[in-house]
Symmetry: C2
Subunit: 139 residues, 2 copies
DNA sequence: AATATTTTGCAACAATGTTGCAATGTTGTA
DNA sequence: TACAACATTGCAACATTGTTGCAAAATATT
């Protein structure tokens, strides 16, 4: 599977800038999800902190990345592999956080279950986050 | 059902202080979950911000309240109704966040499902958060 | 009531996130 | 390629959230 940085940016009507190319590249290469701080470290002093915030926000709005609700309430982001479009995410997959290495995985082929809610409650989104030990840290 | 503030504090070997009584009372009276800011507002200038942080931390450690992972990554707390003990939480119920009124509900009698994880992954905790519109805001 | 222990408030700091605005970079057109 | 229109960036300044050390105050123990 190929992922073209430039193509993705163009497809979403975003102008091609150094920060967008670099940050999107980090996501494509990343094994798991990235926190804002990860990006700040991995891109050195290349970009201003504010630019990273704004770029992440733009990517989320465009449906290029999605946020992950973590049990420690820190914000993480990962590439959308589903057909997400502007203002319309479809990332209904389970997430896994390793307590040992801290990696957050998108379990893309495990979909979130339907939950039977009490009378009168209507669901628009379901997030399922599992914590534990990942395969790499299992030994 | 009765909930004795003092009893709960004693049972957990915590000394009885004004802040602990007040903050625990806020949780007992609250409909949904509380954020740190909620407590800060509802208790006026009675206690220092730091005291609230420390009290919440203590309550979580003792198994009196539990944290809730929310889709907007803000920290919320709610009373443990299950038999949680020091360092051992059993709050395996679903949470619901209303997009309209912002209330976070503990759906105490809807338990989180078992998720079949990939080979080698081991789960220690499962959090399921549903967003949508609650019964009160349904009209 | 006196002492030992715990908790609190304060100050100082660190981390995270937001906004306005001028300078810079990008894009489409000539 | 050069220009104008437009979008993005970096900087500064600020707000919010969370952490730590320590002396003063409150609570528990004797
Ligand atoms: Mn994901
Ligand atoms: Mn709960
Ligand atoms: Zn791991
Ligand atoms: Zn509601």
């Amino acid at each position: 599977m190929m992922y073209s940085i430039i193509e993705t940016l163009k497809k979403n009507q975003l102008s091609i800038t150094d920060s967008r190319k670099k940050i999107l590249e980090l996501f494509v290469k990343a094994k798991g999800a990235l926190a804002h701080a990860d990006i700040e470290h991995q891109s050195g002093t290349e970009f201003d902190r504010v630019t990273i915030y704004r770029t992440l926000q733009t990517f989320v709005e465009k449906g290029i990345i999605h946020t992950i609700p973590t049990s420690d309430n820190s914000v993480r982001y990962a590439l959308c592999k589903d057909a997400c479009t502007e203002g319309h995410h479809h990332d209904n997959h389970v997430h896994f956080m390793c307590d040992v290495c801290g990696t957050t995985y998108c379990l893309d082929n495990i979909t979130t279950p339907d939950v039977k809610l009490p009378e009168g409650f209507r669901s628009t989104q379901t997030d399922l986050v599992v914590s534990g030990v990942c395969a790499k840290c299992a030994n």
